[in-house]
Each structure stands twice: as structure tokens, then as C-alpha cells.
Symmetry: D2
Subunit: 245 residues, 4 copies
């Protein structure tokens, strides 16, 4: 069975952020998933101390900061899919959500100890909700970070809502949220057979040589055109500079 964990990053635990998260989770449940949710504002999440800048391996599960992250790591670890629902604060996730993301480094960085990221292959969807814009900006920050930790983002794996109105009036957004829940389950089921994604020992030899050979051939073909471009550009710019004096 697929386990989906919802994370509500809003201090207003009943608002539009919650509502869209709830729709996504209920839709996941209809496809047979086991769902649960947490309110991030119920937990103390202290800011990351950046230990891995001292030593790349000096960060792992569980983070040594004493606060509530230990329990949250365990929730994430036992899930196949996450829905992160964040309010939009100044065009980004709230600071509380950002601290949570920063601290997830402890799972990703296990790559140095276990040979793989402990977030690898989990599926993630993002929901961003605000009063007036910045939704895509908040989402895209999170997506890039999560993909780099090893999460998979399925088709239409995010939505956003930017309005002071109650979201239950906006059919399109409700449909998007329900689809996030469904799609997370579909993606988690389809990919559950893939044990490891990233191969740190991938063989590069033949690949690099072939690439350098074809690159050199391509370069040769274009060299005369590029050389002419570059020398013309140089001449034109320096003439302009002279005239401008």
C-alpha cells in the first residue's frame, strides 16, 4: 500500500492551504493510499547549523539539533509520497517550511554514509497558497530542491492559489489538488519497483571519449564561422568605445 504524508506549512491550520492539502489527501485515499497529515506549526523546527560546510559527511539522520525534527524525519521515511502545502510568504515558502526543507538535508546527505539519499525515489507534490501572487515562485524553489534530494515530481505535481477568496469556490484549483493526490499514488505505484535511481559508480570512460571526439569534429566544422564572428565583434565594440570617448 502507498503511504502519503501531507505537510501543512500554514499557521492558520484551517485555511485554504489546509483545504487544498485535505482534498489531495482524500483523493489519494480514494485510490487506496494510506494517508496522514501533520501541521508543521505544531512542531519546533530550529534552523539548520550548516555542519556539512565544515565537513561534507557531517550531516545525517537524525540531525543532532534537539527539537522536533526527529519525529518528522521518521514520518517522511515511512512515506512513499509527500504533499507539501505551504503558504506563500514573500513569494516563497514560509520560513517554517524552509527550515523543514533545510533540515531534510539530513536524509539526503546519508548518501555519504549509505551510498544513497534516504529521500531517493519518494514522490512529491507541492501546493502553494497565498493572498496575491508568487505561487509559482514558491513552488519552483521547492521543486528544484526536492528533485536534487532524490524526489520524483510527477506530471502536474503542483498547484497554487493566490486569492483571499475561499478556495472551495474555485473548481479548477480543487480539481488540480485532487489530481495531485491521485497522481502521487499512480507515480508511487509505477515506480516502486525501481530500487536505486542514482548510480554513483556509473561508468564514464567510453562516454567521455566519444563525446570529446564528436565535440572536436563539430568544433572543426564551425571554427571558421565562429572565428569570424568573434573577430568582427571585437573590432566593432572597440570602435564604438573609441567613438564614445
Amino acid at each position: 500500500m502507498i503511504r502519503v504524508l501531507g505537510i501543512n506549512g500554514s499557521p492558520r491550520k484551517y485555511g485554504n492551504t489546509y483545504k487544498l492539502l485535505s482534498i489531495a489527501l482524500l483523493a489519494a485515499k480514494e485510490l487506496g493510499a494510506e494517508v496522514s497529515a501533520i501541521d508543521l506549526y505544531d512542531y519546533e523546527i530550529k534552523p539548520c547549523l550548516g555542519c556539512l560546510s565544515d565537513k561534507p559527511e557531517a550531516c545525517g539522520y537524525p540531525c543532532i539539533i534537539e527539537d522536533d525534527m526527529k519525529g518528522l524525519y521518521d514520518e517522511v521515511l515511512r512515506s512513499d509520497a509527500l504533499v507539501i502545502a505551504t503558504p506563500i510568504y514573500w513569494y516563497g515558502p514560509s520560513g517554517q517550511v524552509k527550515n523543514f526543507i533545510d533540515r531534510l538535508t539530513a536524509l539526503e546527505n546519508m548518501i555519504h554514509h549509505s551510498g544513497y539519499s534516504w529521500a531517493e525515489g519518494k514522490v512529491v507534490g507541492v501546493i502553494a497558497v497565498g493572498n496575491d501572487g508568487g505561487g509559482v515562485h514558491a513552488v519552483s524553489s521547492l521543486l528544484a530542491a526536492l528533485v536534487a534530494m532524490g524526489f520524483l515530481v510527477p506530471p502536474w505535481g503542483f498547484t497554487y492559489y493566490a486569492s483571499k477568496e475561499n478556495v472551495e469556490k474555485d473548481l479548477e484549483t480543487l480539481r488540480d489538488a485532487a489530481n495531485i493526490g491521485r497522481i502521487l499514488v499512480l507515480a508511487a505505484e509505477a515506480t516502486r519497483g525501481v530500487k536505486r535511481w542514482y548510480n554513483p559508480a556509473v561508468k564514464l570512460e567510453g562516454l567521455v571519449e566519444k563525446t570529446l571526439t564528436s565535440s572536436a569534429e563539430r568544433r572543426k566544422e564551425e571554427l571558421s564561422v565562429r572565428t569570424e564572428l568573434v573577430s568582427k565583434a571585437l573590432r566593432v565594440a572597440s570602435e564604438s568605445a573609441r567613438e564614445a570617448k
Copy 2:
């Protein structure tokens, strides 16, 4: 067999952008994929005319602008996975790549005519290469757009390189590029059984009611705390304003 299409968005067809793309494609080939590549600068791609702002359905395959996109659409349509390799120009994809992305709307917008996006479920990876920074910024713009068109972004589905040095000296980036190729194939194989991801007719009724009920209960629990917060905040702010005069 999985078909992977590489798209080289650099005018310097033999440089670092090409090299990382080549590594990714060769790695995909080693997993049995059929790979091919195109140089975007060999094609005329005119800017999008925004027809769907006149009428939401007025955009579809093939775009009616007369240029080389018709052939590019067909290449995309026959692929299971794309690798988009772009130079980083002012912290984003090059204008040529952006025009290509803008014009892909014609595939996505078929949702109005066929009931589904013609990009749905294709897997995508992004490579961004520049002289000095902005790689993540360029990547995250593309990822959000592609996910919203129906593409799937697999774990570690992007990499970037920001240096004037030849990339073949940077083992870590080469490994990331090779893994993008491998991972696109793994993801395309794992998800090929999923026929449709987004369900525009998803049933919302029960979901919305349950959500509104739980939202109302949660609101009730927090109402007194919130009310106190809000009235205190109002009072404090207006006092400060008075004093500041």
C-alpha cells in the same frame, strides 16, 4: 524501446552544453534507449503569438506560425523522454530555448481538443551550462513549466555547470549528466504503463464536503487564539503609527 530526444539549445554546438548532453544521451543508449539529438540553433523558431489569450482553445498542434516548429513537435511527440540542454543567458534559458518552450504550448493545449495534454507523461531532464552562475535559476524556471505541461521530472533530473573550464575535467558533473540519461530511461520504463495521469473528471463531491467539515472544526478550535492575536496586532500597530507622527 524508450526513445530519448536531446535538445541542444546552445549556439556553440560543440561546447560544454553539447558535451553534457552527449554524455546523458550515451548513458541512455547504454541502457538500451534509442537516442537522437537536435541543435536548436539550426531551426527557425519564431516567438509565440499568444492566440490562447484570445480564445483558450485557439492553440494546438501544429502551431500555425510558419517556421521549423512543425518538425520539432513531431520529434517531441515520438519521444518518451527529453533532455533539454540550455546555455545560461542572464540566469535563464536562452531566448531560443524559451521560444521553443513557449511554442510547446501547442502540445499541452491539446487538452482542450483531445481531453489530454500531448506532452502528458513524457519524462524530462534539464541541463544548464554557463560561465558564472544562474544555473539553478534557469533550471527551476524550466522544471515548473514542464511539470505544468504534463512532463514527469525524475529524481536528480537536472544538473548545471557554471564555469569557463572544459567540463570534461569535472567528474561530479559528468556523473550527474550520465545519471540523467540513465534515470530518464528508468523512469520512462517504469511509468510507461500509466496511460493517463490527469483526470479532468475527477470526482470532487465527497472530498470537498469532508474538507469543509474538518476545516470548520479546526477553525473552531483555534478561533479564540486567532481572534486574540489579530486584535492585539491591530492595537499595537495603530499605537505605533500614532506615536510615529
Copy 3:
């Protein structure tokens, strides 16, 4: 005299983030500014509670959350210019810096009580420092937020550094940091005569009418071309959909 406040958002108080911030502040001092700095990790900054989503005016100086922000607001208020130096955590500012930014809403939102943002016209520069990329992404998030609060971003008002090496070896970045300090002072001096920037009572009448008239004329000129485009696009897309079945 111009007062410049440096904000160090890194938990490693002596690292590259600190160093670039220090360079900027010392350069500001050479132009005659009074400079000071704070380490954000020395302060408890709790996450924003989103009061203004309950009521737009329900947020103002000082925020009612009991922690160390009160002192930080006062530091900001007495400064003419800020340098925000943040580590890059997952392509964004650290959660601690994000909480600080979120909480600055209390100054901006005074617009509802005083008629102007209490951050209005202050000059800001941003420095982002990390091990491996995402600098521009972190910077651009902050810039947009700060401009929307009423800060001014001067030419070359940011820099970033993404490397594990000690930054003192990188002349170009050092020069950029020193220039941020200088340029903040130049900009603060040049603009100090501007009392108010945003005019909430700006007269719109004539402007809107003229705009609608010229828009209507322009529309008329293009109508036949647009109509043809749109109907052709519709026809082509629906034919493709039919064939695809």
C-alpha cells in the same frame, strides 16, 4: 551620515558569508558611512503567524510574537541601507533568513496604519554564499520581496559565491562585495531627498481613459489579423485531435 546595517544569516559566523559581508561594510565605511552588523543566528526568530490573512491591517510594528525581532526591527528602522548576507541552503536563503524576511512584513504593513511602508526608500544589497550553486536563485527571491516592501536595489546590488574555497582568493567576488558597500552609500545619499516614493492617492482618471482609447484603436487595427489567426488555430487543432483518435 548614512547608516548601513549588515545582516549575517550564516550559522558559521566566520565563513565566506561573513567575509563578503565584512568587505562590503568596510567599503561603505571608507565612503563615510556608519556601519554595524548582526549575526542572525544569535537571535531567536520565530515563524510568522500570518495575522494579515485574518485581517489585512492586523500586522504592524512591532510584531506581537515574543522573541528577538523587536530589537531587529529597531536596527532596521534606524538604518538607511541594509546588506543581507545569506548562506545558500537548497537554492534559497536559509530558513532563519526567511523567517527574518517574513517578519519584516510588520514594517511594510504599516502602510495600512501610517499611509506608507516603514521600509520605504531604504537601500538594500544581497550577498549569497554556498558550496555549489543556487546563488542567483536565492538572491532573486530576496530582491523581489524587498522591492515589494519598498526597498531600492542599486546597480550591481548583489553578488554570490558558490564554492568550497576561501573567498579571499577570488578577486572578482571581493571587488563585487566592496562595490556593494560603496554603491549602497552612493544610492542612499543620492535618494535621501526623496521623502515618499509610492503615492497611494495617485490620480488615475485621465490616464485610464487615454489608455482605453489608444487600446481600442490598436485593437481595431489588428482585429482582422487576430481573428484570422485564432480561427485558423482552432480549426487546425480540432482537425489534429480528430486524426489522433
Copy 4:
């Protein structure tokens, strides 16, 4: 007198993008500025060829590509302030606008020939208009690029509108657009006395030494705490890895 140039990046030359741009320009005119505007879709703007990746100085005014940019450079050069109004295509500026931005490198890169960027000190505002979101995302990409070219972004120097409705019904956005026009003029007037912003010959010596000294002192103070953190984090992570096997 301040000269303000409006740039309309929309193919629909009479829509919301045009309207907000017009409001901004008319408001600038009311403050005494001389205003003019161009429709970017009336010009052929070919994609940048990336010459400076061959040689850093090989890009300058005017770009050697034969198309309509020459005239556009001259318009920019004779302006004190720009308003760039772009449609939001896939959360970014349109490809046509991006090509325009990419090609502005020819002004910025004159730093190699004249000792300063030819965009230095010009003031810029950005307006982004779309059907449904991504406005801040489009804006923030442009802001970072423009600041790095030497443009100044004044307080509230951007706005966005994301709706299919006619923008003339939205008072708040109209007010923001009018203020952009006003504020550009205020900022251009206030800063016109500043001849040069960036000093490539800024003196670094004393600054770097002082910084390294204070950094070393700070490091000493924290060393024992950091060492303990790091060794604890290492131990905990490797234990977890062992248990996980």
C-alpha cells in the same frame, strides 16, 4: 528632462500588458518626463550567438547580428529609464522579451572596452501580465538580470497581473502601474548626479586584511562548539547507516 522608454513585449498589442505599460508611461509624463514606447513584436530579434563564451570581450555595441536590435540599442541608450512590460509565458518573460534581454549583453559588455557598462545607472521597472500566475517568477528573473547589467530598481519597481479579466477593473494594479511610472522618474532624477556606480579599481587591501583578522578571531571563539557539532553529527550519521543495513 528624464526620458522614459516603454517596451511592450506582448504580441497582442492592445491587451492588459499594453494597458499597464500605457498607464505607467502616462504617469511618468505627468511628472514631466518625455516618454515613448515600442512594440517588441514589430522588430526582428534573432537569438544571441554567445560570442563572449569564445572571448570575454567579443561582445559589444552594436551586436554584429543583422536584424533590428541596432535601433533598439539606440533607443535604450538615449533613455534614462525603461519600463519592460512582458506577457507571462510559462512563468517567464516571452521568448521575444528574453531574446531582447539576452542581446542587451552588448551594452553591458562594453565594460571590457569603455571601463563601464553602457546600461549603468539607468532605472528600470518591470510589468508582467498573464492569464493565471507566474508573474513574480517572470519578474524576479528579469530584475536579477537587469541589476547585474547595471540598472537600478527603485522601490515598488514592478507589478504583475494574472487574470483573464480586463485590468482596468483592478484599481490596485492600475495604481501600482501608475506608481511605477512616477517612481522611475523620481529615481532617475535623484540619481542623475551619480556618474559612475561600479568602481573596478576599488581598493581591497586594507579591507581584506581586516576581514581575515576578524574572521580568524570569530573562528577561534566558535571552534570548540563547531568541532563538537561536527564530530557528533558524523558519529550519529554513520551509526544510522550501520543500523539501516
